[in-house]
Symmetry: C2
Subunit: 161 residues, 2 copies
């Protein structure tokens, strides 16, 4: 067993947030994208934890905590931007969004979601994606996007029921 992922270990999460924001700044600067205050704030909120966050949860914080006039499109537009540039991922089975660990390159990870602590661990294993591509090839199917979302119990939650 390899090093347990940060997502399901106690850790200084401020560091995760800072790093995610810094990487986003860098990425946007490099690609000439505008990381506006709103987009930055939404990214920060998504990174408040390793748990996927619903768009309406974000909306509630913007309205109540930031005092910002916000309606659904405000949030969804920011999320669309972040998704498009790989800064967050959408978890289809939860209708929720989670920060991306390594937005430096285009990818779609595989997600291991704990049903107890709700942490989402992102992996990027070629053994999984290759096995999908192999199966696709056997069908003559051209893959454009992969969604892999696994639900279960993370190591930590197995230990503390």
């Amino acid at each position: 067993m390899t090093t347990p992922p940060l997502a399901c270990q106690p850790h200084d999460h401020r560091h995760c947030i800072e790093q995610a924001l810094a990487e986003a700044e860098t990425l946007c600067a490099r690609h000439g994208l505008r990381l506006t205050a709103l987009r930055r704030r939404v990214l920060e909120l998504v990174w408040q934890s390793h748990k996927p966050l619903g768009a309406y949860d974000i909306l509630a914080v913007l309205s109540e905590q930031d005092g910002r006039r916000a309606a659904p499109p405000t949030v969804y537009r920011a999320l669309d931007f972040l998704l498009e540039h790989g800064l967050v991922h959408r978890i289809a089975s939860l209708n929720a969004f989670v920060g991306c660990d390594h937005p430096d390159h285009a990818h779609q990870g595989q997600f291991f979601i704990c049903r107890q602590c709700h942490a989402a661990i992102e992996l990027e294993r070629s053994t999984i994606s290759d096995s999908i591509l192999d199966s696709a090839r056997s069908l003559g199917f051209r893959v454009e996007a992969q969604t892999v979302e696994v639900v279960g119990l993370c190591a930590r939650c197995q230990a503390t029921p």
Copy 2:
């Protein structure tokens, strides 16, 4: 390349429907489950094509075509029953439901969904699920459910753009 799946080939689809209903009858009889008229009808509607069907599409047919008084819970309850016993699968990325090819044993397939013709091809490849289980093991993660949904172009739609 193996035999192309029925889902993206022209075929006598009435046979698919008949077989699915027959298998459902058998399965319910064997397990002492009640395949009521409503449940049977919903299963039949889901099997009208190989395209995942939304709950509200089903609802519309029940109301307009069958003249049945139907509200959302009517449909969702039937779908819950069919899901629970493996007769249909839910496609999370589409919020839609598709008939199961082989409800004879508990399983969760992998779905290859054509973005053009919308057909969903179900596979059950141990290479995919094993690679997921391997990755999970390396995390110490206990898998309870797998969602694998691949979007792209089926062989047929690649040929006819």
